[in-house]
Symmetry: D2
Subunit: 279 residues, 4 copies
């Protein structure tokens, strides 16, 4: 069969290599998760099951792609940071972003029931993904700071919003109206005065999101899942080891640490200085 006659169409594919010596960040983002969270009765403003499932899927991605030096997640998004000089998929942007988002999505569905138990997944969710390059360490840190600041801002708002709705019987519209134009300090005050809630005592995972990094300790055999996210502030390190009895093949299950700490300040980067120097 005249295969060669058609093969010229391969020339229409374009190369999309990522510039060398840049941090490659892949961010995945839930599509229409407002509706998805309604259909699946997510607890508002934060659903532990959903957050844990996101983190489980991210952990799987990190186990599969060893060049990811850090992942950061909040709400229905996760960012994966590949080391600057990774040669994964020969640095082809499409390959990287598509494989990551595909595997993440696949894991999300695969592990759904582990986190949601008898509550069935009503329909297959999807995520988009993008690749962004950051030339300098400062740019990368600022990117992560941007996402964590976003987590804080949204969570503070959502916490207030749902308190008004759930505890005071506000309609969503009333709640929105009440919060319009308020500053962070106003919202903190609102929580304290009206709901006797100190925002800073809320679980770190809600306020800081989740940072995943390969454990410095030697990887060990996986153990049965234990409590994932400590609700107390200490210790920050959630040393998670989800059991993954379905893990394919014989490869070692590297331990991934899950942290819910500030990464905007210097402290995190001083304690984990190896992240930015990874080759």
């Amino acid at each position: 069969m005249a295969k060669s006659k058609f093969e010229y169409v391969k020339q229409f594919e374009s190369e999309d290599k990522c510039l060398p010596n840049c941090w490659i960040v892949v961010r995945i983002d839930g599509k229409s998760f407002h509706r998805f969270s309604d259909v699946h009765h997510f607890v508002k403003p934060n659903d532990d099951r959903a957050l844990n499932l996101m983190t489980k899927a991210a952990q799987c991605v990190m186990e599969e792609y060893k060049d990811i030096v850090l992942s950061y997640g909040q709400s229905d998004e996760y960012s994966f940071v590949f080391k600057k000089n990774t040669s994964v998929f020969n640095r082809r942007g499409s390959k990287i972003m598509s494989n990551i988002v595909s595997y993440f999505s696949s894991c999300y569905v695969f592990y759904w029931s582990r986190f949601f138990n008898v509550q069935p997944l009503q329909y297959p969710p999807s995520f988009d993904s993008r690749v962004v390059l950051y030339p300098s360490d400062k740019n990368l840190r600022d990117y992560l700071s941007w996402r964590q600041a976003d987590c804080h801002i949204n969570n503070l708002y959502n916490t207030c919003f749902w308190k008004l709705v759930q505890d005071k019987g506000f309609t969503p519209a009333q709640s929105q109206e009440r919060l319009k134009g308020t500053m962070s300090s106003d919202k903190n005050e609102l929580l304290y005065q009206e709901f006797n809630t100190n925002y800073n005592n809320l679980p770190d995972v809600y306020r800081k999101g989740s940072i995943l990094i390969p454990s410095k300790e030697k990887a060990v055999e996986s153990k049965p899942m234990n409590s994932t996210y400590p609700n107390t502030k200490e210790p920050h390190r959630g040393s998670v080891s989800f059991s993954n009895s379905l893990d394919h093949g014989t490869k070692m299950n590297p331990k991934i640490d899950v942290l819910h700490v500030d990464l905007i300040g210097e402290k995190f980067w001083e304690e984990h200085s190896n992240i930015l120097t990874s080759r």
Copy 2:
């Protein structure tokens, strides 16, 4: 919180709009499916369950993205053709390819048990995806012809290969050696002489792959799944309507026709002339 201070990092995202007035093709491809098919005991050379699951996932994608005018699948790959002037995701390549591959992967896992029954999915599979642009109708047809020719070539080879292994007790190496340098005609002859098999009588789905197009008939309410792929050559049109009781929302379930016919020649395009003229 100094959100604005970090927001400059958004400028590092690059635009990747697809050239207007070109056919946008998204091809997804199974990652390491050789291993995946081994682990899951796929029947060789073709596993109906796996092919049907691929097609089910593709059908879901088409139901979600109405601007897809045709999809073509074979083995562990599927191509989705968006109409030339689609404005889906504002024609942003990353958005398109990531959403498609994410939803496809998600569906694949979600519907696994419907096709594989009690055989469990051992681990989450993944797919890559790419976007390719084709300026002319001829280019697009040549692309699809390329994939269908590829289907034919691989299937003829695999059919011979597995006959030698399964019926004659060849080792894979011996089988490969036996087929080295053979032409299509040699392989047809081999099947006929040694296995009393007329290649052209094998199921169309194996030899031609699967073409999915929106049904010309008005969309109807979905019915219980019936036999998907006729093993006889007639009728070509498998008028499939997988039941999708989990279908989210109230939107109509458009019927997608599944065909296993030649698309290299003129006939298909004459019968479905609306595909290339879709606006």
Copy 3:
């Protein structure tokens, strides 16, 4: 010397191949030509010397790059259309656009004195360039129509503007004010009523710009330059053959026809049907 140690930096260069089977248009545009035309006392609204020099430079470009099937120029811009399947510079966008604009600029300075005689070039001018791809013939024609419509609109405005300034003593500000909000018909009326000028009788080169195409007749030896742009409307074809005694090498000097005709309607494309079918 450790050359290899540094050569890795070549990997930072990115490929930028133009999508196959698209018309490649390179448009060059004068940089700060408002000032340039002032400094060099260009006749307003149209300076024949400047227009002829632009066309001379464009002609040189076409003689050098045989895959250009048509060029269109007006004011301080020129567009070069490469045939759809050109493999010039392996279709690398940067190579194409940089070589064209470099050679055009070089020619502009080189031939300056031939058109401006004793009036010296005061400083080296520059042009920018860009590559745009057009998938279909219709898109390409619409592109050229866009440029010619632009020529008409600007020329009508400028003709009125300078009549008011030159013949009526308006200041530029007064002239601008007078024309604000006027329609094409108003401007035609203004010219006719106040300046006894029938816009349609103005030279074609001003109203239509310049279309350059390879002569259908066999290329002949170049002859001494004769009048380039007929001021009368007929004949449209200016069968130009600039003498180019400095022409490098022995290659034949292909004749380039210079036309000042409408290319928005069907007539031009019917008479020159070979342009769109060039392979």
Copy 4:
């Protein structure tokens, strides 16, 4: 006139913004300069007139584009380094590369006679250009080292080649044969033994190329051109100030220093530490 009907074609233009926070390097390169140098009787292996003209054009480019912090030239090429955070042309790659190469070409022709006197320019030369991004200072330095190492390697070879041809009567083929497989040390030895030439005593401009940087001293009024390139090794700094009586406008003529020194080692970067820290 239906302008709007055609304006949709603007959407086919694609954005090509350079990644922020990267060094932008534009390299221009003579097209077919082998032939150009033959036609214009360039002195081999190095023609001072041609080198000076290249540097003059590069100087003009730097005077026009203040965000260029360093240029490096050798033979028929020049590299222009824009500061990391330049917003020139909104960082659009096409705009940057086309304007630079256009202006360079224009200047080359414009100033030809100043350097070649009565010897006329036979035909308009052209250059190509490309944009390359370097994320880190080390990458940028390695890029420049690559070009300077290239200068050295080529010059050593060419010096030997032309000595054999000019002093020994070798044919080019014989000369090439003689040098095949030789190492740097062999070539140095050849020059010393057979031509009594110490390679290291050859003019710096030939061995090191030309580095252009804005003078640290305050820009002064331009003076008549004096000798550009000292043939003695000291001082390295050629404090050039080409007279540019045609300089357009009133803007100050910033002094550009021309150096012919090593930039591979640390010394240059220590003495000019401001280059890499330019904001």
